[in-house]
């Protein structure tokens, strides 16, 4: 009952922003589709169309949806939100579970929206007698050959969002637990990025990790599985961190 109330509350706080985001996202996708379909192939508008490895590909602008998801996850796990719920006599365990419960349907909704946008784009192109753009032409086809299967596409998008959401929740919890100011996090991350740029090996290892996590030559379902396991591990790390969060300034 309390988890349901908390999940409902979490959704109510982001619902309007999410609707506005998807209206803008869908609008931009359709405008770009019309421009792309009515002009020559491979015109890049708003990063929607491009050429990958000599084959015309269409960017799904996933990165935009992922960014918004990360933002929502961090805000939900942020000091302000956690403190607010603690002051409503909610246990840390309930806050954590309600967040996990909130994360899954949100990721599912956003993955479905992603697919709808791709098909809307394809439909507009088809109306303009251009090539049908299905999932097989989406940028995410690079992740695995079977990404043109709608269920596999959904599973991979969903699990990527969960993995990103878990990581951003961990960062949000760290900030909430130790009351780290955003500016400090930004500075530390900047220093880390500079250090990484200066160290080729570390970059290679990180690229290896990302390749292992997000790309696979054989099957999208394996990618999804790895990402879900990764998300669960990160959440297990995040729990003891957020469990010690207090409302003290």
């Amino acid at each position: 009952m309390r988890i349901k109330a908390l999940t409902k509350y979490n959704f109510s706080t982001i619902r309007n922003s999410l609707i506005i985001f998807y209206l803008c996202y869908m609008g931009a996708t359709l405008i770009a589709s019309v421009i792309n379909a009515s002009t020559s192939n491979n015109t890049v508008v708003l990063g929607v169309t491009g050429k990958v490895g000599g084959t015309p590909q269409t960017w799904s602008s996933s990165i935009l949806a992922f960014s918004i998801f990360i933002l929502i996850s961090s805000l939900t796990g942020s000091q302000k939100e956690t403190r607010f719920l603690i002051t409503r006599s909610v246990s840390r365990k309930e806050i954590f579970v309600s967040y996990a419960v909130f994360l899954c349907p949100l990721a599912a909704v956003m993955s479905v929206m992603q697919i709808i946008c791709i098909y809307a784009d394809g439909f507009v192109r088809w109306l303009f007698h251009s090539d049908w753009r299905g999932l097989a032409l989406d940028f995410q086809i690079m992740q695995a050959p079977d990404m043109n299967n709608i269920l596999v596409f959904f599973a991979v998008s969903f699990s990527i969002l969960l993995a990103f959401g878990a990581v951003s929740y961990l960062f949000g919890s760290l900030m909430a637990r130790w009351k780290i100011q955003t500016i400090v996090v930004v500075c530390v991350l900047s220093v880390m990025i500079i250090a990484l740029i200066g160290s080729t090996n570390i970059i290679e290892r990180i690229i290896d990790l990302f390749t292992f996590m997000f790309l696979d030559e054989t099957t999208g379902l394996l990618i999804a599985l790895k990402q879900i396991v990764f998300a669960i591990i990160v959440m297990i790390i995040a729990f003891p961190v957020m469990r010690k969060t207090t409302i003290a300034k």
């Binding site: 009952m1 309390r2 349901k4 109330a5 908390l6 409902k8 509350y9 109510s12 706080t13 309007n16 302000k80 403190r83 607010f84 603690i86 002051t87 409503r88 006599s89 909610v90 246990s91 840390r92 365990k93 309930e94 469990r243 010690k244 207090t246 409302i247 003290a248």
Partner: protein
Amino acid sequence: MQDNYAIELNSLTKKYGSSHALDGVSVKLEPNKIYGLLGRNGAGKTTILNILSARIFATSGQALVFGKSAYENIDILKQICLIEEKGFYDDAIRIRQVLQLAGGLYPDWDVDYAGRLLEMFELDERKKYKQLSRGMESSLGLIIGLASRAPLTIFDEPSLGLDAVLRERFYEAIIEDYTEHPRTIIISTHLIDEVSRLFEDIIIVDSGKFLLHSNAAELQEKAFYISGRETAVREAAKDAVVLNEESFGNTLILSVYAKIGSANPGMAKNDVDIQPMPLQKLFVQLINPQIHDTLRKAGIIQ
């Protein structure tokens, strides 16, 4: 002997760096009473309430609610409704959503009563939180506190920003609802005289230390102003603890703490004027550190 206390604080200490926000506070509160938690700014009232509701952690000692610690104890947490000065709500959230959330969190939530309170406090449930004035924010907190019917309901500065009419409505509502649904209510406030009629027991904390826990009526029965000619006043107050004295020409006014009647029959007979001391004045006297040794010797404070 009462075993099932609503609240038990055992040597509760909270340190921030080297400074003590609470220094070994111990007190036991019986259930189903209205308590007044009094103290100056920074005395440690809010710290006690925050530790009780597991919002912050004690450095040492124990804080139990209905016999258990509230930390990660959902059964206890849902019995605690602590209303603070500020709600920390999202600016875009509407009052309706705030009440829906509260309804989902407190098992004894009374939807109809919340609706009646909305009318009483003249709040429009469609309003967004950012549109609320300071007084309206307080009203919303009071509605949640009252309609939650939580077995432990705590109001920390409940009437901040409320006009006199709404404050009176709150006091009436709390008495009415408490009569029908007895529960443990703690009110921490600086408007002592105004709220004093609600209190059954009073707890005073000062500089992080527990000072006094007493029945409100008994406490007020013992506090008086004695005024008149100096010799008569001093004679009347000879067995009492003098909290303060002021002279106006030939008239001496003593603030005293004593039992009138059987304990000090002489006091009432003398040619002096005896007036009861308002609770707020008594509180100001009791937290005066210069007379703490005297008060401790007399067993008035701890």
